[in-house]
Symmetry: C2
Subunit: 180 residues, 2 copies
DNA sequence: ACAGAGCGCGACAAAACGCCGCAGCGGATG
DNA sequence: CATCCGCTGCGGCGTTTTGTCGCGCTCTGT
């Protein structure tokens, strides 16, 4: 199952570059895309009747969580996916309870976004315990990727947010890309 | 806001020790507690009309996720919290969509469980995502704690699941406990 | 009583890390 | 245009952390 081609997708993210990249990728796949960089701009797109929406959580004008309810009131059929820098259980709970169909952590490409919409479409799987604890190296890698993305690829900032030396982050990134 | 004292709490977990500890702690606080160690045993408690439930995800007889729907059909007012070894965004999404009110990662004590029920009671917060990226050391520590708990405190098993040496885990645990 | 599994810990080499400095490279700023 | 500023990539070096052995101890079960 996949997202139907006549879907109209609304992207809400204050990061112009990331949002732009995602928009292009989705348009390349044949979808109609609307963009907004803040909460108010997002509500202004309502008349265009989007069928799907990607909401960033961390925006200057307010969290994407606050958008979910009004959007669903205006467009009850809207399928919302929440996108955030580093996934947290707490915000996941809030997002889903508010009516989002899925939750993604950055970095997320177009295919991941579309897959997230789909998972919301079909019946809940309600299983797949997939219980192998992720290795320490794996969680470290994922967290580094998230923070790096959150810093817009700025290694220096990411390093200090992660609490390690710039040189060390540099070396980790140099050694690890093979796993990706 | 807190859980009312006449609540009847159902605990479903195959780990007898953990479940037992939680049961005692909840009973000490004055709550009526029912226990079950598998899916079928849990359904057998339905006639006792529990008002709240804590479901473990990883059980031999099947995932706690599969319990959510039938439990809610039988007891529509039931407030369900899902408890799991290491929190995953994917299972959180499934759990909440299936009707759970919250999601917890082990180790979780009685107060955390009760708080989780409450968060399900009041209106969704939908704000304050507290956006400070957790340091690498912090996420490492939390993940280690989860896996360690999942291995029942067995350092040897936890070490190999984490992909590092037993001696190394031992040293990390020796240096860090102050943070806990 | 004995085998098996874990734990705690010492020792030493290998690997990773913190830290300094230097050169190159765009983007502002005057 | 010259200049400053912040970021990157990289080499080197001393320090810290890991990996890997091995030993003795305790606990559990048949």
């Amino acid at each position: 199952m996949s997202v139907r081609l006549d879907a109209r997708i609304l992207l809400v993210d204050d990061d112009d570059r990331l949002r732009g990249r995602l928009a292009v990728a989705l348009e390349d796949r044949g979808y109609r895309v609307f963009q907004a960089n803040c909460v108010t701009a997002a509500m202004a797109v309502v008349p265009d009747a989007p069928t799907h929406a990607v909401l960033d959580l961390k925006m200057p004008g307010g969290s994407g969580l606050t958008l979910i309810e009004p959007l669903l009131v205006a467009l009850p059929e809207l399928r919302i996916v929440v996108l955030t820098g580093y996934g947290s259980i707490a915000t996941t709970v809030d997002a889903i309870r508010l009516g989002a169909v899925n939750y993604l952590s950055k970095p997320a490409d177009a295919d991941m976004v579309l897959a997230a919409f789909v998972r919301g479409d079909d019946a809940p799987l309600a299983e797949a315990p997939e219980y192998d604890p992720p290795s320490l190296a794996r969680t470290e890698w994922e967290h580094i990727q998230r923070v790096l993305d959150d810093c817009g690829g700025n290694i220096t900032k990411a390093a200090q947010k992660l609490g390690l030396h710039r040189r060390t982050l540099q070396r980790k990134l140099q050694i690890w890309p093979p796993n990706r």
